[in-house]
């Protein structure tokens, strides 16, 4: 059951990473006239249409990770990591928990500023919020994988 949930969590994280990366790159470096390059095609997407998908995936991730998986981590993996004195991995996972919560709370504001029609006066705050959420998603993804594979990393 846990393995299935972890797999689902990982797969959804990959989809979320893809969506938020498209949106972030596109909003920081808006596409110019099509050059056909990979980078230009990567950012030449309808960024606003990603917003609802990102919010839904983030909420599902928070539920799967926070409600279904987190208690297992808390009673098993974390205890072992503390016994092995792996302080930094425990700390970065605690940061993942806090960053996720702050980003989860940020989603209503993120949705508000990405509402269509997009207002030009809110471009900067859109960039700002999208970047914070993108950073959180990438942090969660990397820390999650790092913690999941920690036994192999330290053997």
């Amino acid at each position: 059951m846990i393995t299935t949930l972890l797999l689902f969590h990982g797969l959804l994280a990959a989809a979320l990473i893809g969506a938020i990366s498209h949106q972030t790159i596109s909003i920081w470096w808006p596409p110019r006239a099509s050059t056909g390059s990979f980078f230009n095609r990567f950012r030449a997407v309808n960024v606003a249409s990603y917003t609802n998908a990102i919010i839904i995936m983030f909420v599902i991730q928070a539920f799967v990770g926070g409600v279904l998986l987190y208690p297992f981590y808390r009673v098993s993996s974390r205890v072992v990591m503390e016994q092995l004195r792996l302080a930094a991995p425990v700390g970065i996972f605690d940061l993942k928990e806090h960053f996720s919560t702050v980003a989860l709370g940020l989603l209503p504001g993120y949705w508000y500023y990405w509402r269509r029609p997009l207002s030009s006066e809110h471009t900067n705050i859109r960039i700002f919020l999208t970047t914070i959420i993108a950073f959180t998603i990438w942090w969660n993804f990397l820390v999650g994988h790092f913690t999941n594979n920690i036994r192999g990393l330290w053997s």
């Binding site: 926070g66 409600v67 987190y70 208690p71 297992f72 808390r74 009673v75 974390r78 205890v79 302080a87 930094a88 425990v90 700390g91 970065i92 605690d94 940061l95 928990e97 806090h98 960053f99 919560t101 702050v102 980003a103 989860l104 709370g105 940020l106 989603l107 209503p108 504001g109 993120y110 949705w111 508000y112 500023y113 509402r115 809110h122 900067n124 705050i125 700002f128 919020l129 914070i132």
Partner: protein, 179 residues
């Protein structure tokens, strides 16, 4: 204020309430994962670890919902004053942390006892004076420009505070790497 304006207000307030509830352990309930039990408010460990995270989130969500709901009833003509008040509070918070760090730095290095530097009122008063002076030089158009940015700045600040609060987990590892 329109109904939709409550969304960014909720996001900003949620980050602040979450920081407060996690720092001071104002959990609305405690979950004991080994026992599958839920207790009201923050409770000590029973068997296995106690999880406060869900309780902190709930506390923060309730607090933010109240602030967002109140925000929808505030008339637009009050907005400039609220903008100024939030700017004042945020500048004060930053200056307080700086003043506190400076006071402790001087206290540690002073050759004689400067007991007043350890008193919480010292950085509080210094930060208040500095904020009042700064507010005279802070143009109103800047507070207007910052208005929507608080939705990002405050949660970002909260994330940085968490990094600072959890530094104890990393400092030994950083020391080992630097060795």
């Amino acid at each position: 204020m329109t109904f939709y304006r409550a969304f960014p207000v909720f996001s900003t307030a949620f980050a602040v309430f979450y920081l407060i509830s996690a720092t001071f352990n104002y959990a609305l309930f405690t979950y004991h994962p080994l026992l599958h039990e839920i207790d009201l408010l923050a409770q000590p460990v029973k068997a296995g670890p106690a999880m406060y995270w869900y309780g902190w989130m709930t506390t923060a969500a309730i607090g933010a919902l109240v602030v967002a709901a109140v925000g929808t009833f505030i008339p637009s003509r009050w907005e400039p004053w609220i903008q100024r008040a939030i700017t004042f509070a945020c500048v004060y918070a930053v200056l307080y942390m700086i003043a506190n760090a400076v006071a402790l730095f001087i206290y540690d290095r002073a050759s004689y006892e400067l007991e007043f530097l350890k008193h919480p009122a010292t950085p509080a008063i210094a930060a208040l004076v500095a904020t009042v002076i700064a507010s005279f030089f802070f143009p109103a158009r800047w507070t207007q420009r910052l208005w929507s940015c608080w939705t990002g700045l405050i949660p970002l600040g909260v994330m940085l505070v968490f990094v600072y609060l959890l530094r104890g987990w990393f400092i030994p590892s950083v020391g080992l790497i630097l060795k």
